[in-house]
Symmetry: C2
Subunit: 294 residues, 2 copies
């Protein structure tokens, strides 16, 4: 496995397989060609300037998220022309390809209406992936990942950060701030589910996908109140009492524009699975981050 | 008005207004910047490598249809940064952004599933136009035009050519070949309607469009049999008898993948209008191409 990032990516201590670490900027001329020189069987393309930064720095977002992605796709295409190279290419897309207004449950056949430059760049990546796959240059699949919860680590400034924070902080005995109403509904999967999505996409039989290679991943549609109920069941009233309601109109407006639920029957038929309750999501956090027994 | 094309575009003899003619390749470095130097109030972007050619020449299609379009959009963006330049930008998109399977009547909210590189490039153009408009760089609107019928001039090799040919040729006393079954349904508007679509898009109040700037234009959904009935009513049995049924399985397969009808209520609410019968479409051809009185 070769890990690639614009900064040197941290390598696991004992991966159990041969591992190389490369640091480069995918949008630099020739960088993508270096990456495909070794003809990897599977390419997982996660790299991106994140939503907020792509909105603040228009040119950087397009340079990395659009031009960088296209450079990678074209490097594979050139390899295909030389020796028939046709890897599996897994592209991490985003729910940000959808923008309000939309139906309560968004189907895979709903049109892409991004309301950010990041979402636009991801939607273009999906279209390119479909066309390059149709042409036979690679065998592509794009996954739109739910909001990952419970995200480990420290609180961050992302507008979505509280969805993880209101569980993670109390589970660690700390106070968490809730900036929106408890009736707010959103769409989640655990970090463990996300890893399984990517691994499954690396090896599944893509014949059933036809020309439509972008899939919204299964997730759990839940309200903040349902999150907190699960926390209470798992860690007691004292944990739930660590959540402070501090309404923030700015965050509330942003979150109101986000999707709440999806029809993911297509992905489920292909074997993708997510959690079905927040109790399960909390238990996964306890096992994977707090050392609880499986 | 400035007419621009990669080959010198034919200028009308007495346009009644100041007219310049420019020949350049939009994908050449700096070419787009030259075009916006004079700060035109309205830009109508029709240019494209057509469907068949973009499928045969992958790199040319992406260079002209994607990079050329983006170069034009970025030239306007740079102008906007310099002096607040914010023109109306009308982009001719295509029904090729949709690929089978789809519902009988495709709504504006149906997802884009192009099955050609040309359709992919047009879909990406729509996404870029939405994002650049949302950013305030220009005031964009994208029109997906129906199949234009009756296309004047000589028969061509386009798979869709017969839809015009079976009317145009008999109206000029000539034999026409029909390569598909008479039950085939497709989606049409006259050349006069197409011109009106573009003119209306140049001046309409775009506030009602919100962030969704791509509109499928109204059209007439009709079968080949309905086309021929209209020809018979307009020009008699002898004209209809000039159509020779010569089934072509290759063309039949291509046409089977094309959309048949659209829900265009959004465009109609904004004032776009098309013909409601093939009698009307034939009469427009008689007036505009054969010199019949209006």
């Amino acid at each position: 496995m070769t890990l690639v990032d614009v900064v040197p990516p941290p390598a696991p201590a004992a991966p159990g397989f041969s591992l190389a670490v490369v640091s480069l900027d995918l949008s630099d001329s020739g960088a993508a060609d270096i990456l495909v020189q070794g003809r990897p069987d599977i390419i997982v393309h996660l790299a991106a300037v994140v939503s907020g930064e792509a909105e603040v720095d228009f040119e950087k977002g397009y340079r990395i998220n659009l031009d960088g992605t296209r450079a990678l796709f074209d490097a594979v295409r050139h390899g295909h022309a030389v020796d028939g190279y046709t890897p599996r290419l897994v592209f991490a897309s985003s729910l940000a390809v959808f923008g309000a207004p939309f139906p309560e449950k968004i189907p895979d056949t709903y049109h892409l209406t991004p309301l950010t430059s990041y979402g636009t760049q991801k939607a273009i990546g999906e279209l390119l992936l479909d066309d390059y796959t149709r042409r036979g240059f690679f065998d592509g699949i794009a996954l739109r990942l739910p909001t990952i919860c419970i995200r480990p680590g420290k609180p961050n400034k992302a507008a979505s950060g509280f969805f993880s924070g209101i569980l993670r902080e109390p589970l660690n005995g700390k106070v968490a701030v809730l900036p929106v109403d408890r009736s707010v509904r959103h769409y989640f999967a655990s970090p463990r589910a996300a890893v399984q999505f990517l691994l499954h996409a690396c090896t599944l039989n893509t014949a059933a996908l036809g020309h439509r290679r972008a899939l919204t991943m299964p997730g759990l549609s839940a309200t903040v109140a349902e999150q907190i109920d699960a926390l209470r069941k798992s860690a007691g009233d004292e944990a739930a009492a660590l959540i402070r309601d501090e309404p923030d109109a700015g965050i509330a407006i942003i979150v109101a524009g986000w999707p709440k639920d999806f029809d993911t029957s297509r992905a489920e038929e292909l074997g993708f699975r997510a959690e079905s309750s927040f109790e399960e999501i909390i238990e996964i956090y306890r096992q994977d981050e707090l050392g609880a027994p499986a």
